[in-house]
């Protein structure tokens, strides 16, 4: 019965975007205060430029050898997360930071975390190059992977709609049912993934979607899943698909 409920929510949310546009989906940038928006649009003041510059250096030093054109790789930002497998391992959902970590592993045999400054710098650099591109998450071509992808989407939808934590809140309660309302001095946004990685003022640094989702879990006082866990990837896949068609904002700042 639960599966059916999730499937129907998923069906509704995904397919409602093929209906005439009565639902206007707004990116989180439209929920920023005037000061934050001014900072976001200030090319000198926006803190993300520091990471974009760092990403550019890393790109020139490491990535150009294999990936010549930044533009064609930038489209990866709006296509990820994808289903991928490594030699002998089962397929699982990879997001853009996972892919960058894998690439770094090939070059330097290092195993970095999603919050490593180099990983974030490259992710932000790619995010900046993908500005304005529409999000387009596709299911895989291989039949076997199609089924796994569907299962991951359903799991993501299930997480999105289930109540959790001491506050006993589900994601959908705030991010669908209470958009625009105040949570103390925060204004609830619809939580579309159009601007990750973000510079969050409370972190005083940039962070990935992985970190932001974990912060959400801690916000409702639920057990925080560990970084790179499959639960987080399933949720991210669902959220990215939910943002299908929206234009990529590029690196953004948040409170």
């Amino acid at each position: 019965m639960n599966i059916l409920k999730c499937f129907s929510v998923l069906f509704f949310i995904v397919f409602s975007y093929h209906l005439p546009a009565q639902v206007i989906r707004q990116s989180g940038n439209q929920f920023l205060s005037p000061e934050m928006l001014k900072l976001q649009n200030d090319p000198n003041g926006n803190p993300t430029v520091l990471w974009i510059d760092q990403g550019q250096e890393l790109w020139n030093a490491n990535c150009v050898k294999c990936h010549q054109e930044i533009k064609e790789l930038a489209s990866a930002v709006v296509r990820y997360p994808i289903l991928k497998s490594k030699l002998g391992q089962a397929s699982k959902v990879w997001n853009i930071e996972d892919q960058i970590i894998d690439c770094f592993g090939k070059i330097s045999q290092e195993s970095l975390s999603t919050e490593h400054q180099n990983v974030l710098a490259l992710s932000i650099f790619l995010s900046d190059a993908a500005k304005g591109m529409p999000i387009h998450v596709d299911e895989p071509n291989i039949k076997k992977d199609k089924q796994l992808w569907q299962e991951q989407m359903i799991q993501g939808a299930a997480i999105y709609t289930r109540r959790q934590g001491r506050l006993n809140l589900s994601c959908t309660q705030c991010h669908d049912q209470n958009i625009g309302k105040n949570l103390r001095s925060d204004i609830v946004s619809p939580a579309y993934l159009t601007g990750f990685p973000i510079y969050r003022q409370s972190w005083q640094t940039v962070g990935s979607i992985d970190r932001r989702l974990r912060a959400c879990y801690s916000g409702v006082q639920a057990t925080v899943p560990s970084t790179q866990s499959s639960e987080l990837r399933a949720l991210e896949l669902f959220l990215k698909k939910r943002s299908e068609g929206m234009l990529w904002d590029g690196p953004s700042i948040r409170r």
Partner: protein, 149 residues
Amino acid sequence: MRPNLSRRLLLLHTSWLSMATFFSKDVFSQSNVDSYSQKHLKNLNLKSEGITIEIPPLADTGNSIPMSIQIQPTSSAKVQSFEIIAPENPNQMVLRVTLPNPQKKLKMATRIRLALSQDVWVVAKLDDGTSIAQSANCVVTLNACFDAT
């Protein structure tokens, strides 16, 4: 022989232990001094002409608040040094700037952190030995949700 820690003894030990941590609280406080307290700064009764502070009255985040200062003394004296003070911060001295060559006019901007809503003070020393001071109030709002990451 099994040690028998009576309740009174336990209370005694926890009380001196907690006092010890109280005194070590300011171990990294750079400048938690009376001269930087709100009361003291107000009591100095320094003239505020010549200093302009621009700071949002309601800040989105306590972590990064844009602030700009312009110091242009109305008298013929020049600015020698100034301090930005946040009396309610754990480290009250936010920025101290000295100018080896005193200037007629100084304009600068930066981003500061405020632990809670308070008056932010700028106290400037002029080269004739006098000081001027100005304050501006800033209300700080915090994030709604606890972030454990």
